[in-house]
Assembly symmetry: C4
Homo-oligomer: 269 residues x 4
């Protein structure tokens, strides 16, 4: 084959590749540019999805969000999809009422109002996780207070309050599908780091993505440990003084488990 | 290389490919052609087998079937083998009495009468799962009613009825090995989505494959969560009103977990 | 490089390879030849080790044996090593007293007397598993009788007897380290398929390797299911009539799970 | 190809290899040279980290150390990082007060005083594990004594004492962050092999790395088994006579599980 023909073949291949790759790449670049000032914010949010799935806090359901650093009345969250598969292209922006800013045909999670409502009344909160953890459900349906059994879950402090949609709303489909329900949940959460949702799951909040991921994982672990402890005898929980001190020191070292969890997820795409 | 030589190379490659691919493809094509109008029906049934195995609802035993879309009095199910290894070539067709239509030497599951009997009396049912789930057995042998503890298992409604072969049949080998036993089980199932089988397992039914797979997985999860809840205290189950509403909304979004489970199985063959 | 020099290099490499490979290969060939008439016996025994490890019935400890088909007073078992790593070269032959026939420097399991003693008094038994399963220990130390909760563990019949070395031997190191202890265990086993050993584990026996592997796996599963059932309420176990019938039918189909378990282990070496 | 050209090729290859390998090897060689007389000491310590992580005794937190064989008042332990990722370069040396000998900018674990304090008062101890095992926490917060339920955990002897920082120190952050707390923990440990730490975890000690890893793993397993046994009935624990004998024999064969665990970790780096 002549050099000219080889050159034509190469040009055709390159054109085909460009036609396939570039359209997929361009939205990602656009997404990164418009959503956040800090490029790590979107990347950490994507990792949070993958980590929470791998650590079995989220399955096909549940979600994690982060407050926008461009407009603090807005927040970022994936479109409606399984957290295991989220990439940066899937991250959307929502306004203070939980409505998408630039949907571009992507569906939003029905329960985005959990996030919108909490961001509205908790200026200290920068990240939120909502999970259907099976380990938590028994507490939600028996009115058992989840309390810190060991130092790693000290953020539970005096216990996680329980929201029950029956109170005030009667028979619903159990989802937080509008701002009224979101506001009622945020009211029960108050200043806590975690609130349980009867027959549904829990919500964890924090002032950064690594810490909210940490809290979600250890809320679930504490639930397992507390249940086992209650079968052995009467539990001596962390005192309020111990909880304040332990939470401060453990959350100051959240970088170590965060990096380990990221390394376990590995490179995304 | 001359054009003639390139042409010979291409022809040789094509012949080799055909020699490898066509023999493998032909039986599959034949299977696909004769069993269903919708080619996705057989493919979804194969995925259902693999998903239920991966999600630990089925092990070496248990099976899943789908009503035929060619002849609604017939149904499709794998030959007698481990669900983990089922491919489209293994799918067989059964008549309304549960007998194979075109066995071609393949053995059928002894308990195909579970499926035949339910399809006969439940025209709304399009797919059935039978499982020996260890999480369910404790309920079957203590007469404990499995009830919806959280929104994802709302389809359990007022609770899963329990079939006991002792009643009416005395000492048997515990298998549903003929239509009389199948009819008795179908009678206990009534209009429910799930029935338990004492000392044996459970059966789940639905009007599509994704939904019956979903119900089987969450029947098992609800069993674990309810057992833990009963150890913590008195459970506040979903009210009838909550169950109706939650079931509708959750099953409308079954596509999300279904696609996730399929992606976890990956490409088959 | 000249053809002569290439030839010298090749000859040197071939000689090196032969020197490494052949000595390792030859004992394997010799092992296969001398240990059994049926070559599948040794292969099935190796698979049994790997399957029981993968199914978490054996860990670093525990063992499985098979009666010799050359001399029925002898039996075959791996040398003292982790079951996860057993290959055909590791299989040794033991006489009726549990002593190695041709040790060739390989160490035998301290507890080979469990196997020797049972083979001596149970001519029907062709294969034995000894496991330290954590799921079984709670039964052994509380005197709780392990009984068949569902059809797959029907072989437990009227319940597994419990052997306690304290009775007759006082304080020991808990191991069955000689024929006196082995005989005492075999006496407690009687005609059962399974016996528990206080503070130690259990032993399962059967007339073939696939069935003893099946029984060991389902003994462990039944233990988990029965424990959960006892926390829910009063268990209705299989009746004697149901157990006889269910055991016959389930063990007739042991080929299906056996092939699945072998395929999960994959090719050995 | 001429001999001269072959010689040039070999020299170039050797230079390339050296350029890649030597820089990576040199720090490791330096680390190996300065830290221990026995090169296996550092290698076993690295394996201990990986094994304990894989066996789920350590997660992102927890640590394992070994007494120095150069200076018995010193000990070796990884820098502050997740045990899953430890390599030989990460091993540091600490003096009798728990302070780093040659930090070179590396951070030490806050709780190194657990190790320092125990090495000071227990000349028999050559290796220590500190874990936050969720299976242990229920015992620590209910005052339940962990006792040997089966022969593999005979080293628990008469039971594991429980250290509670409230006693003597009031509200703390629950970490053993100085030598006063370390001394108090070592006093409660006394001559035992294991001590529990309320609301925190446990510490295991032994006279070698393989044995301390073994004890940590089986302390956790015994916790699960004992909890299940206590739900079934009254447990007949190992008698003191049985415990002494069983511990001796089981720990004499620690090489078998140790080699299996190492093979499961595989090659490091």
């Amino acid at each position: 084959m002549s050099a000219f023909r080889i050159g034509v073949l190469v040009a055709v291949c390159a054109a085909l590749c460009a036609a396939i790759v570039l359209p997929a790449a361009r939205p990602a670049l656009q997404a990164q540019d418009s959503l956040a000032n800090d490029p790590k914010l979107v990347e950490d949010l994507v990792y949070a999805n993958r980590i929470l799935y791998q650590q079995e806090v989220l399955d096909g359901f549940g979600h994690v969000s982060a407050r926008s650093d461009k407009d603090p009345s807005h927040f970022l969250m994936s479109r409606s999809m399984a957290p295991a598969l989220v990439t940066s292209i899937d991250i959307m922006e929502f306004d203070r009422d939980g409505e998408p800013v630039d949907a571009r045909g992507r569906n939003a999670y029905v329960e985005r109002y959990i996030h919108a409502a909490i961001y509205r009344v908790r200026p200290d909160v920068k990240a939120i996780v909502h999970s259907h953890s099976p380990d938590i459900i028994p507490y939600t349906v028996t009115g058992t207070i989840l309390r810190p059994v060991y130092h790693v879950s000290a953020f539970l402090r005096l216990g996680a309050p329980i929201f029950d949609s029956q109170e005030g709303f009667g028979d619903t489909d159990m989802l937080i599908r509008d701002n009224k329900l979101g506001d009622a949940l945020a009211k029960v959460l108050g200043n806590s780091g975690v609130a349980l949702i009867r027959g549904h799951g829990f919500v964890a909040v924090a002032d950064s993505i690594p810490i909210v991921v940490y809290r979600a994982i250890y809320t679930q672990l504490n639930a397992r440990v507390q249940a086992e402890g209650m079968k052995l005898g009467t539990i001596k929980y962390l005192t309020p003084g111990e909880a304040v001190k332990a939470q401060a020191i453990v959350e100051a070292t959240v970088g170590r488990p965060w990096e380990l969890w990221k390394s376990q997820v590995g490179k995304i795409e």
